[in-house]
C-alpha cells in the first residue's frame, strides 16, 4: 500500500476544509444581497449538498433562515467556517470558531499584511497555530471543491461552471484562480480542487502539495506562485520530490525589482528567478512560462502520464501547418524523425488513390486538402506502428472538404485502442465544436493553436524526463 504523506489528524482537518458536511458563513448581511458572504451563503445553499448557516452578531433572518449571533449558537456541528468580516474582527471570530470546535476556516477578509497590517496577521496566525486550526487566507477568494463546496464569492451567473475533473489548482491570487478556472474549463478539462491561498499565513503551497499527493481525485497539481517565503521554496521542492504526480508551476514576478550591488560573480549570476526556474527543473517540476503553457500542460498531463521521449509524428492537411509544428518542435527540442523511404511507400498504399501522388509522407505527413477521415485515421495508426514515433500531433483543418465532424471521436477511439499519445489542433470556434468535443470528451486533448498542440507533447516529455 502507498505510504500516506499526511497523518490521520492532518487528513481530518483537510477533509473539514475540502469536504465539509456543514459550513458557517460569518459576516452575512441582512440587507445587501451582493455582499460576498451572501453570495457564498446563497450559492452553497442552492447548489451544494452541505448544511449552510448564516452568522452575524446583529442576528435577524436571511432567505427565511435564522442568522446566528455567533458560531457557538449554531445547533449542529460545523466543519468549515467562511469568515468575511472586517480585518479587526477576524481574531475574535477565529477564537469563537476554535471554541466551537469548528474543523477549518477560510478567511476571505482583506486588510492584513497586504496593506501593512502585519500585526493583525501575526495575531490570527498565533491564535490558529496555538489551537492547530487550519485556515486558508486571509485575503483570498477561497476554494472550489466539487461536489462538496464552493467558497468563491463570485456569483454563479458570473462565472462559467467549471467541470469536475482531475486538476488541482492552487493560486496566490484569487483573480488568477478564477481566470484559470475559466480557461481550463474552456479547454474541456476539469478541476478536482481550485484553491486561492491569498496571504498564505497558515496553509501554504507545500502543505497543499502534500495533501494532493494522496488525493485520489487529483492527477495533476498546478500552482501559480508569486513568491515563496524564506526557505519555503526548498520545502516545496522536498514535497515535490515525494510526489508521484505531475506538478506544473507558473511563476510571476520574474524580473528583479531593483538591483543591489553584488560582490561576487555567483551572486550576480544566480538571480532570484533563475534559481527558481533551475531548481524546479532539477526536482522534475514542469515550469510553465506563461498562462498558455500552463493551460496546455495541465490539459495534456491530465490525460497522459506514460513517459515519452518526444519523437513526434505530425499529420496535417496543410503543408504550412506542418512546417509551423516542426519549427515549434525543434525550438523545444522535440524531434520529428523523417521516415525511411520504404515506410513512406507502405503508407502510400494505405491512403486514398486520389492523394497517393500528391501527399508528402516523410513526416510531417501532409495529406493535402483532399484528404478524408479514412486517410487521417490510416496515417495516425501507421505512425503509431513505427518504433521511432511515440507521440502523434494531428493538425485538423475542419474546413477541408473531405473531413467530417466525426473525425475527432474516430481518432480518439483509435488512440485509446492502441494506448498511444495523440494531441490535436482544431481552431476553437463554435462551428467546429463537434469535432473538438469528439476529441475532448473521448480523452484526447485539443489545443487552439499549433503551438499549443506542440506544448502538449512537450509537457509529457518533460514530466517523463525527471
Amino acid at each position: 500500500m502507498r505510504r500516506q504523506t499526511l497523518n490521520e489528524r492532518a487528513l481530518e482537518r483537510y477533509r473539514a476544509l475540502f469536504e465539509p458536511k456543514s459550513m458557517a458563513v460569518i459576516g452575512v448581511s441582512t440587507h445587501n444581497d451582493r455582499h460576498p458572504a451572501n453570495v457564498i451563503f446563497n450559492k452553497n445553499r442552492l447548489h451544494y449538498p452541505l448544511e449552510v448557516y448564516a452568522v452575524n452578531p446583529s442576528k435577524g433572518r436571511l432567505q427565511g433562515e435564522p442568522v446566528y449571533a455567533s458560531v457557538s449558537e449554531i445547533p449542529g456541528k460545523v466543519d468549515l467556517a467562511v469568515i468575511v468580516v472586517r480585518a479587526e474582527q477576524v481574531r475574535k471570530v477565529l477564537v469563537d470558531c476554535i471554541e466551537a470546535h469548528v474543523g477549518a476556516g477560510v478567511i476571505i477578509s482583506g486588510g492584513f499584511a497586504e496593506v501593512g497590517r502585519s500585526d493583525l496577521q501575526e495575531e490570527i496566525a498565533a491564535v490558529a497555530r496555538e489551537a492547530d486550526f487550519p485556515f486558508l487566507g486571509p485575503n483570498c477568494i477561497g476554494m472550489f471543491s466539487p461536489p462538496y463546496v464552493d467558497t468563491n464569492f463570485i456569483a454563479n451567473e458570473r462565472i462559467v461552471r467549471p467541470n469536475p475533473g482531475n486538476i488541482a489548482l492552487v493560486c496566490q491570487s484569487g483573480g488568477i484562480l478564477i481566470d484559470l478556472m475559466i480557461k481550463l474549463t474552456g479547454e474541456g478539462t476539469g478541476l478536482s480542487r481550485a484553491v486561492s491561498i491569498g496571504n498564505k499565513v497558515l496553509i501554504r503551497e507545500p502543505d497543499l502539495l502534500d495533501y494532493f499527493v494522496d488525493d485520489d481525485r487529483t492527477r495533476v497539481i498546478a500552482f501559480y506562485v508569486e513568491g515563496f517565503g524564506r526557505g519555503e521554496g526548498r520545502t516545496f521542492l522536498e514535497a515535490a520530490a515525494r510526489c508521484s504526480k505531475p506538478i506544473v508551476v507558473l511563476k510571476s514576478g520574474k524580473s528583479p525589482l531593483g538591483t543591489t550591488a553584488v560582490s561576487s560573480h555567483t551572486a550576480s549570476l544566480a538571480g532570484d528567478y533563475r534559481v527558481f526556474s533551475e531548481a524546479l527543473a532539477q526536482y522534475g517540476v514542469v515550469e510553465a512560462k506563461n498562462e498558455t503553457e500552463l493551460v496546455n500542460f495541465c490539459e495534456s498531463l491530465s490525460r497522459y502520464r506514460a513517459p515519452i521521449k518526444g519523437n513526434v509524428g505530425i499529420v496535417t492537411g496543410s503543408g504550412g501547418h506542418g512546417v509551423m509544428a516542426v519549427d515549434f518542435c525543434s525550438a523545444l527540442g522535440l524531434s520529428v524523425p523523417a521516415l525511411p523511404v520504404e515506410a513512406q511507400g507502405a503508407l502510400r498504399s494505405l491512403i486514398s488513390p486520389s492523394i497517393q501522388a500528391i501527399a508528402s509522407l516523410k513526416n510531417p505527413f501532409d495529406l493535402t486538402g483532399s484528404a478524408t477521415d479514412e486517410d487521417f485515421a490510416a496515417a495516425v495508426a501507421y505512425l503509431w506502428s513505427r518504433p521511432e514515433i511515440d507521440c502523434v500531433i494531428a493538425l485538423l483543418l475542419p474546413y477541408l472538404p473531405g473531413i467530417s465532424m466525426d473525425l475527432g471521436a474516430r481518432l480518439s477511439f483509435v488512440a485509446k485502442q492502441m494506448d498511444k499519445m495523440l494531441v490535436a489542433y482544431v481552431p476553437h470556434v463554435e462551428k467546429y465544436q463537434i469535432l473538438t468535443e469528439g476529441f475532448e470528451l473521448n480523452g484526447v486533448p485539443v489545443a487552439d493553436s499549433v503551438e499549443g498542440a506542440v506544448l502538449m507533447a512537450e509537457a509529457v516529455r518533460r514530466w517523463g524526463r525527471c
Binding site: 526548498r234 560582490s263 544566480a270 532570484d272 533551475e278
Partner: protein, 226 residues
C-alpha cells in the same frame, strides 16, 4: 560539521565581511577540496624559503584585509621563477593598501578554467553554480545552477547544460577534463556549502583549473552574510 578552525576563521572574518584567501584555502583544504600547495609569508626571506619548499615557478598574491579584488589592483604576480623575481614581486605587493603579507602558491599548469560558486537563495537556500571561469563569466553568463547538495548525476547534467561543454570534453584534440574528479569536487563542495549556510552570502571559486586528473581551486572568495 564545521571544525573549530573553520568556526574560528569565520568568526574572525565577520567584521570584514569576507574571508582572507589563505584562510579560505585552509578551510577548503581541510574539507578535502583540492587547492594548490600554498603558504603565507610576512617577509621576503620567509617568502623565499616557502617558495623553495613549494618549488618554482610560483604565484605571489597580496594578503590584505582592504583588498577583495586582488587582480584589479595588481595584487597578483604569476610565473615567478627565481628568488630575484620573488623579491621584486614582494616589494611591489608590499606597497599595496593594508599589506599583511603574501600568499605563495604553486603555479598551476594551464587547463580548462571553470568557476564553481555558491550562493544562499532566500527562497531555496544553498545553490551551486558551475560555468566557464575567468574574469568574463558575467559577460558570457554560460553557467548552470542547482540546489545543493548535489548528486553526481546533477554534475553531469550541469556540464551538459553549458554551451562550452565541448571545451570540457576535449575540444579539437585537447585533453578532456577528468569528469570523475570534477564530480567529486562539486559534490564535496556542495556538502560543505550546506554546512556554511547561515555564515555565507556567496562563494566564488574562480578559476578552478582542470588539467590532467586534477581540478584545483586557484582562487577563492568567500563573502559572509551580513
Amino acid at each position: 560539521m564545521l571544525s573549530r578552525m573553520m568556526r574560528a576563521n569565520l568568526e574572525a572574518s565577520k567584521g570584514r565581511g569576507w574571508v582572507l584567501e589563505p584562510d579560505a584555502k585552509e578551510m577548503l583544504k581541510e574539507t578535502g577540496l583540492p587547492v594548490p600547495r600554498f603558504a603565507t609569508a610576512a617577509t621576503k626571506d620567509e617568502a623565499k624559503s616557502r617558495a623553495h619548499e613549494i618549488g618554482y615557478p610560483v604565484v605571489a598574491k597580496v594578503v590584505s584585509p582592504l583588498i577583495v579584488h586582488k587582480s584589479d589592483v595588481g595584487g597578483v604576480a604569476v610565473d615567478i621563477r627565481s628568488d630575484d623575481q620573488l623579491d621584486a614581486a614582494f616589494s611591489r605587493l608590499a606597497g599595496l593598501d593594508g599589506f599583511q603579507g603574501v600568499l605563495v602558491e604553486e603555479m598551476l599548469p594551464r587547463g580548462v578554467e571553470l568557476i564553481v560558486g555558491a550562493t544562499i537563495d532566500v527562497q531555496f537556500g544553498p545553490v551551486i553554480l558551475l560555468g566557464l571561469g575567468g574574469t568574463s563569466v558575467e559577460i558570457y553568463k554560460d553557467t548552470a545552477l542547482r540546489l545543493a547538495p548535489l548528486q553526481p548525476k546533477d554534475v553531469l547534467s550541469m556540464v551538459g547544460e553549458l554551451k562550452a561543454h565541448p571545451l570540457l570534453e576535449g575540444y579539437r584534440g585537447a585533453e578532456p577534463i577528468d569528469m570523475a574528479e570534477l564530480t567529486r569536487v562539486l559534490v564535496l563542495f556542495s556538502r560543505f556549502v550546506m554546512e556554511l549556510e547561515g555564515w555565507i552570502e556567496s562563494i566564488d571559486l574562480n578559476p578552478v583549473v582542470c588539467e590532467g586528473s586534477r581540478c584545483t581551486i586557484a582562487d577563492a572568495r568567500v563573502m559572509l552574510a551580513k
